[in-house]
């Protein structure tokens, strides 16, 4: 699901993301912003990322809750300039109605 999610962001597909994100989804970005599901879906088409790779992923299961941590390596172009970002994330997934849905994402620029 993490890879599906990264792919949905990369190809800027709000429909695919809508199926993955719970209606109560909350995201805290590296800049400290809080985004709801609606805000993420509204913004996804403007994302500048061309490639998002995940690495060092760890999954911890707690009943119907899964915590996934890892690193996003993002490549994109912003204002005509290419960039590479390395961000650490921790996501919370819930098993709901027979599928895993993302309920939180917290991203922070990787400090190591």
């Amino acid at each position: 699901m993490e890879h599906v999610s990264a792919q949905a962001y990369t190809i800027k597909d709000p429909k695919a993301l809508a199926a993955i994100l719970d209606d109560g989804f909350v995201c805290v970005t590296s800049e400290g912003k809080v985004l709801s599901k609606a805000e993420v879906l509204a913004d996804v088409r403007t994302y500048t990322a061309l490639q998002i790779l995940t690495e060092s992923m760890l999954v911890h299961l707690h009943g119907d809750t899964a915590i996934v941590s890892g690193i996003f390596r993002t490549k994109g172009v912003e204002h005509g300039k290419p960039y590479t970002r390395r961000e650490r994330f921790v996501d919370t997934w819930i098993y709901k109605n027979g599928q895993w849905v993302s309920v939180t994402t917290m991203v922070s620029f990787a400090g190591d």
Binding site: V26, E31, H62, D64, T65, V103, S108
Partner: protein, 147 residues
């Protein structure tokens, strides 16, 4: 909320001004916020025994892009006091998803190092899971807010 060692937490009054995101969750909201408060209190006392009861064994903690396990969080506690900090948490909301609760808010930190005060503001997001009637912290993270 936040851990990391060597801190002095003075106030978490903001935890009282909370919005529960689902109806009929008042008791659970209170219980989760009590755990947030217990965490702050345990940090201020450098009480690793209490923290051990609050942190799930599989805790994932990210602050400022650095990852720490439960063991690493606990190992930092004895350094408390060497660089005192004040932390004030505020504007908190609690969301419930099945057996998980998510607390979102901000906290303001004043760290003193080498005689210099350094204010910082953070957005945090904590995930708690109810295990056998007890809310355990399974994930926590914070990103710095722009100055």
């Amino acid at each position: 909320m936040r851990t990391t060692g060597w801190l002095l937490i003075l106030v978490c009054a903001g935890l009282l001004r909370v919005r529960a995101q689902e109806g009929g969750k008042g008791g659970a909201t209170t219980a989760v916020l009590a755990q947030e408060q217990a965490w702050s209190d345990a940090e201020s006392r450098n009480d690793t025994g209490a923290l051990e009861q609050i942190f799930d064994n599989a805790l994932v903690f990210i602050e400022d892009g650095r990852l720490a396990t439960k063991g690493e969080c606990l190992a930092r506690v004895p350094l408390a006091g060497s660089h005192p900090r004040q932390i004030v948490a505020a504007a908190t909301a609690v969301h419930f998803f099945g057996s998980a609760a998510v607390v979102v808010g901000t906290y303001h930190e004043l760290a003193v190092k080498d005689g210099k005060a350094s204010p910082k503001a953070w957005r945090f997001i904590d995930t708690w899971v109810n295990k056998q009637g007890r809310w355990m912290l399974v994930a926590a993270g914070a990103s710095p807010l722009p100055k």
